[in-house]
């Protein structure tokens, strides 16, 4: 699945102007153009061009206060945009918001319910606002989220994890083709996180689109096909995870004798221009530039052997989503 939308992506700056309203046949589940939202002097969402392919699991990542939730609120019509256009499932929002949201399920911030009602009663209340068929889905969605046994308990007695699952159940009432989940793993124990991951993956397997906003980058990497990184209201990167990480620096771990001399050898051989080596006992850690690194790794090996260094092990480590995220959001010094 990963990378299957690679061809559809371009860097935001390369995106062509919005197509005509044709958009109903769009391949994007979510499409925004120049979306902007200001709160007095603060621009929470700044000229955002977001493209979420249909049928994908899409991670929407950013540090706290980056404008993730504000963008979700804009998409769902919970607040109004100051500029730009957007569409959900091909329907322009807010003009055809009711048609779009008919097939959208969403959790924003945290799922909140009437505490005096049971889980089932809360779902009944929400399904009443949807189409008549939503009422018939209450049983199946409770079953799917593993909430059937506790459905008739009051929400006041639910744990955070149970409320999260009930929130997903509420989303599924729409039989949605697009789910927007804001931090769905919050408050879940490891088993709960695994269960939520299974639910999300099964929804994507059914052809639904899931947009996942989360701080748990490891979970996003395991769950999503593509991501967008938002920083200070602006999307700074978006695309399939595999492609984005392919463009990230690669760390080469070298276990060898005489690490200090090995570093000097590499520096004198002129490798310092394209890679940086730091001692990491019992060897070195060399950060290689992005791109195909096979030849560079072989070159490192040759230099060290020629210099009389015993090389015990060479290991190329691809950057994780977390380290890449920290790098591109400036939370981590560029190791190059």
């Amino acid at each position: 699945m990963k990378g299957r939308h690679a061809a559809a992506y371009r860097r935001p700056s390369d995106v062509k102007p919005a197509p005509p309203p044709a958009a109903l046949g769009s391949e994007w589940a979510v499409e925004t153009r120049g979306l902007t939202k200001r709160f007095r002097s603060t621009t929470a969402v700044n000229d955002v061009e977001l493209l979420v392919p249909r049928g994908s699991a899409f991670g929407y990542l950013g540090p706290n206060g980056a404008g993730k939730t504000t963008l979700i609120r804009l998409l769902l019509g919970l607040t109004r945009a100051d500029a730009g256009t957007m569409s959900l499932l091909g329907y322009p929002v807010p003009r055809q918001r009711d048609l779009a949201l008919a097939r959208v399920g969403a959790i924003v911030d945290e799922p909140r319910f009437h505490r005096h009602l049971t889980g089932r009663q809360n779902l009944r209340l929400l399904s009443a606002a949807r189409e008549p068929a939503a009422l018939d889905r209450i049983g199946p969605v409770l079953d799917r989220t593993g909430m059937t046994d506790r459905a008739d308990d009051r929400v006041a007695d639910y744990s955070m994890g149970m409320r999260q699952r009930l929130g997903v159940a509420a989303c599924l009432l729409a039989d949605p083709w697009l789910l927007i989940l804001d931090e769905p793993m919050n408050g879940l124990d490891p088993a709960g996180i695994a269960g939520m991951r299974d639910i999300i993956l099964s929804l994507v397997a059914e052809g639904r689109t899931v947009v996942l906003s989360s701080h748990l980058l490891d979970e996003v990497e395991r769950t999503c096909d593509a991501v967008a990184i938002v920083e200070r209201g602006t999307i700074i990167r978006q695309g399939p995870i595999s492609e984005l990480l392919a463009g990230a620096a690669v760390t080469l771990r070298v276990e060898c004798s005489e690490p200090d001399r090995a570093r000097d050898l590499l520096a004198s051989a002129g490798l310092g221009a394209s890679a940086q080596a730091v001692p990491a006992p019992p060897g070195l850690e060399i950060t290689l530039p992005a791109g195909p690194g096979g030849e560079l790794i072989a070159e490192v090996n040759r230099i060290l052997i020629a210099g009389g260094i015993s090389v015990y092990r060479l290991q190329s480590v691809q950057a994780s989503l977390e380290s890449w995220f920290l790098h591109v959001t400036g939370r981590q010094e560029d190791p190059r």
Binding site: G77, L126, A128, L135, R144, D175, W177
Partner: protein
């Protein structure tokens, strides 16, 4: 785990229909709420234990307690405690307590309905369904009125039942043993046949001949022997004539038409309280403040405006909903805005209408304007509020 039926999610490049194939498109953009929405909102409100306890307490419990105490007192000490029912007690309760408590109870329910979705974070979930916010707002009105109207109707039915079934069947005060249901002529005839009893035991504001002595002792010791019997009979008839209106009031059961019109009026009070509370709470996004404001308007502002004869306040009097509601009170009831004893409290039947500036038609228009304005304000805020 079972899976939710998937209606063949369309592949990229194909439009997503708003409803699965074979199902009618739901008109969720319509401003009109569906029956399911109203029913679900009713369920949500009905299951608020605190709200329901407050409603039942105010609309049923307090009049029930009042009537219950009177029934018990009369049962245990009938000579010193009059019966719990009858026309006069009905008038006191219906003109004084019931509308006040019905309004406050309904306003509390309205404020709850108008604010709780917001404060409990469910409003956002409802908006995400794509349903028209106006429909979400309007669904609360019939749902809330169904609850408030039912509770108020039960409390009112209780008062009516006690007023009818516990109305006095005879008066044995001072051993007069007056039978019920006599016409004026019948009452005079009855008095003429019991001149000594009537002269000595029924109230009379005229002059009693000095030679008629009515000792405080038992009637058997009465010695009106000096006065000729025809003169005593005539005096008894005069006393009966003077007391007839009081006699009729004591024994009368409230007329069916009065009970019907008073019931409608009390339900109107409750409906106005609910709709105003709903609009105000939706506008302000909270419950406590609006509840306090509406209670103050009912208990403080209304009586002040009714009693005030300040020319500068005349426009306020003319356009204030509380006075308009008072204007529509059935004329057979004594006017009472606020609790008895508060300024403008219970007076004679129809006494209040003369204090109020509007005609009934204008009063109805004023009420309609208030309901419309607050519904528009509440709905507008709900439609424009960030969820």
């Amino acid at each position: 785990m079972t899976s939710v039926p998937v209606h063949s999610a369309p592949p990229p490049g194909q439009a997503v229909p708003a409803a699965p194939a074979g199902q009618p498109r739901d008109r969720r953009g319509s401003p009109l709420p569906t029956g399911a929405m109203i029913s679900a909102t009713l369920m949500e409100l009905r299951r608020r234990r605190g709200l329901m306890v407050a409603l039942v307490l105010m609309a049923i419990g307090l009049p029930g307690l009042f009537e219950g105490i009177r029934l018990l007192l009369h049962a245990f000490a009938p000579r010193t405690n009059p019966p719990a029912g009858g026309d006069m007690i009905f008038a006191v309760l219906v003109a004084g307590f019931l509308p006040t408590f019905a309004f406050i109870a309904a306003a509390t329910a309205g404020c709850t309905a108008g604010s709780r979705d917001l404060t409990e974070g469910v409003f956002r979930h409802l908006v995400i369904t794509g349903r028209s916010r106006l429909a979400l707002y309007l669904a609360r009105i019939p749902a809330g009125l169904a609850i408030v109207g039912t509770v108020v109707a039960i409390g009112y039915a209780l008062v009516c039942a006690v007023s009818i079934f516990a109305a006095p069947s005879f008066v044995d005060d001072s051993n007069a043993n007056v039978p019920p249901g006599l016409s004026e002529a019948g009452f005079e005839h009855w008095a003429a046949t019991r001149a000594r009893t009537v002269i000595c035991d029924l109230p009379y504001s005229g002059r009693v001949p000095p030679d008629v002595a009515c000792p405080a002792g038992p009637i058997s010791s009465l010695t009106p022997a000096q006065t000729a019997p025809p003169a005593l009979d005539a005096l008894a008839v005069r006393i009966a004539r003077q007391d007839y209106s009081g006699y009729r009031g004591i024994f009368l059961r409230p007329p069916a038409t009065l009970m019907l019109t008073a019931g409608i009026w009390i339900e109107l009070e409750a409906a106005v309280g609910f709709v105003l509370g709903l609009g105000l709470a939706s506008l302000l996004g909270q419950r406590t403040g609006p509840v306090i404001l509406l209670i103050m308007s009912q208990l403080i502002l209304d009586p002040i405006l009714i009693a005030a004869k300040i020319p500068a306040l005349e426009p306020v009097r003319r356009w204030f909903f509380g006075l308009a509601l008072a204007r529509l009170e059935p004329a057979a009831l004594p006017m009472a805005r606020g609790l008895p004893g508060v300024s403008g409290g219970i007076g004679g039947p129809g006494s209040g209408q003369s204090l109020l500036p509007e005609s009934p038609a204008l009063a109805a228009c004023v009420i309609a304007a208030w309901l419309t304005a607050w519904t528009i304000l509440g709905a507008w805020r709900m439609m424009t509020r960030d969820a």
